[in-house]
């Protein structure tokens, strides 16, 4: 049972990451490979706020969202000039930079050693110490993210985003300032990813740069692509599958380090095979051409 709770918490963390990245990639059609960077910003803000300044977890979540939001706003303004492959490349480079900041800004992030002993959240003096209650917190935060995402899905804002994905120029002709829409969804996605990071830091109680590498961004992208672009339910299925995958590999009896690499082989291969045979993902509504 504790094991199942652990898996469930991981699932909700990745579900938040997947849903938020889907807003960026699946709705607005921006191929961002930088999601782990914002995930990491949230995690580090929470870790530093809790261990260094004794700030409450929930305040640290807001601080993380704020910082991710500001960073994504600045980066997004630069990125909005790029398209397709240049956009993907720039976002990829941005992830590399943020990773190197986590790794090298030792006075703040403790570099490769990471920050241990991140505390658990407290609500009105009650500490969310057990994994069971932490799961409830994860569900609550996920529900918030999910609600915002479905709200966006049904709103005129969401429809404009999908239209941008389909035909950006047509929208420009109609007088929409396309870049503002793209920027807005990029910032929203980044702030959501930061929430997942805060959860992760407090749950694992330890952060180090390796959790926020480029591979992590590709992993989150695989969740989105597998489920299907523009499909929130698909993303949940993708997150479930890819979170269970390493556990299944360990179950089969592969040693841990080989299992980690095999997981990479499998989700990488899934990306390739989907692109060749079924680019819309398993339940996606949007056909990638």
């Amino acid at each position: 049972m504790p094991y199942l709770i652990h898996i469930a918490i991981l699932f909700f963390i990745y579900a938040i990451l997947g849903v938020s990245l889907n807003l960026v990639v699946g709705y607005a059609g921006l191929l961002s490979v930088a999601h782990a960077a914002f995930y990491g910003i949230g995690a580090y803000v929470t870790a530093i706020a809790l261990t260094q300044y004794g700030i409450n977890f929930f305040v640290s979540v807001l601080l993380g969202m704020l910082l991710s939001g500001i960073v994504s706003l600045l980066v997004g303004m630069v990125f909005s000039k790029f398209r397709d492959d240049y956009y993907a490349l720039a976002s990829l480079g941005f992830n590399v930079i943020v990773f190197s900041i986590f790794l090298n800004w030792e006075s703040m992030t403790k570099g490769p050693l990471g920050i241990p002993g991140v505390g658990k959240p407290t609500v009105f003096g009650y500490e969310i110490a057990s994994n069971g209650t932490f799961l409830l917190l994860a569900i609550a935060l996920f529900a918030l993210v999910y609600m915002v995402a479905t709200k966006i899905d049904g709103s005129s804002f969401g429809r404009v985003l999908k239209a941008i994905r389909e035909d950006e120029q047509a929208l420009e002709v109609f007088g929409y300032r396309v870049e503002y829409f793209k920027l807005a969804i990029f910032v929203i996605g980044a702030a959501m990813a930061s929430v997942a990071g805060s959860l992760f830091a407090s749950y694992i109680t330890y952060v180090d740069p390796s959790s926020f590498s480029l591979n992590e961004s590709i992993f989150i992208l695989a969740i989105v692509i597998m489920g299907g672009l523009g499909s929130i339910r698909g993303t949940l299925a993708g997150a479930l599958f890819l979170v269970l995958l390493p556990e299944a590999l360990r179950f089969v009896g592969l040693p841990t380090d080989i299992a980690a690499q095999s997981r990479q082989v499998i989700y990488g291969a899934i990306l390739v095979l989907l692109m060749v045979y079924r680019p819309r993902g398993f339940v996606g509504e949007y056909e990638l051409k």
Partner: protein
């Protein structure tokens, strides 16, 4: 003053490595019009193929280098045949190509890590004392000299090939307009397959050279590719001499930046240069 020649020497070495990667990447980009992010993984394939043959099977150095380069070329050819050609035939969008390339990168890196562990490996013999050259006070090892010379030779070779051979003209035709090239009877898929072979073989060669110069790691492909792509873009994407100029500009900027700031920010410096170019001179130094 004392340190300056050394920084210049280091910049030239870095520039030569980036140039090799940029050349292969550029050649593929020119003909296929997409960013082949899997190109970085092929440097790793080349480096580790060499590691396997030269270090583990203890083959002769030239034979292992030749086989590794051909093997990497073949691997690149297979990637095109099995994945990219199908996407091309379907008329897939940029995004599909990029995602497929990211997937391939992930798979190849992980397979190499499973086969050879994630440990840092080096190709250079510890016992073998390298010949060292002193050029105006800057120290260059033999491997580094070879890198610089090979870089120039391959640039000259490819430029010559593109200009004066039938095959090179076919490549130019395909890169100008694939449809028209097909109409006039050029077997485009075959040409692109060969371009993948040649570009990947160059990537394999650069992986081998990096293995001798600094060492191998399964994850090195991504950062090498980044440098290659940045070099290609700031030089003017699709132009061969531009890739070369961009690579050396990047090499110099990085090494002088490291001199002024600190070594950890190398990647950040490269990326900032890219952003500046993309914003103010998106076509690069030499426009095509």
């Amino acid at each position: 003053m004392g340190i300056l020649p050394q920084i210049i020497a280091n910049s030239i070495i870095a520039g030569a490595i980036y140039a090799l990667i940029a050349l292969g990447f550029n050649l593929i980009y020119r003909t296929t019009k997409f960013f082949n992010l899997a190109h970085g993984a092929l440097t790793v394939v080349g480096g580790y193929a060499m590691f396997f043959l030269y270090k583990q099977l203890e083959w002769n150095i030239y034979a292992s280098a030749l086989v590794s380069v051909l093997f990497t070329g073949g691997a690149g050819y297979m990637l095109d045949k099995l994945v990219f050609r199908r996407l091309r035939n379907r008329g897939a969008s940029q995004m599909v190509f990029l995602i497929a390339a990211l997937g391939l990168l992930t798979v190849i890196q992980a397979i190499i890590a499973i086969l050879f562990t994630s440990q840092f490996q080096t190709l250079a013999d510890s016992a073998m004392q390298q010949q060292i050259y002193d050029i105006f006070g800057g120290i260059i090892t033999q491997t580094q000299a070879i890198i610089a010379i090979l870089g120039v030779m391959i640039l000259v070779g490819i430029t010559w090939m593109l200009k004066y051979t039938m095959f090179g003209r076919a490549i130019n035709a395909v890169s100008d307009d694939e449809e028209v090239a097909k109409m006039v009877g050029i077997h485009t898929n075959k040409i692109i397959g060969w371009v993948f072979f040649i570009g990947s073989a160059i990537a394999g060669l650069s992986g081998i050279l990096v293995g001798f110069d600094t060492g191998l790691e399964p994850t090195m492909g991504m950062s090498l590719l980044m440098k290659g792509v940045i070099a290609a873009i700031i030089g003017g994407i699709g132009t061969m001499h531009g890739a070369f100029a961009g690579a050396f500009l990047l090499g110099f900027a990085e090494n002088f930046g490291v001199w002024q700031f600190s070594g950890e920010w190398k990647d950040a410096i490269a990326f900032i240069i890219l952003i500046i170019f993309l914003l103010f001179r998106p076509k690069g130094i030499f426009k095509r």
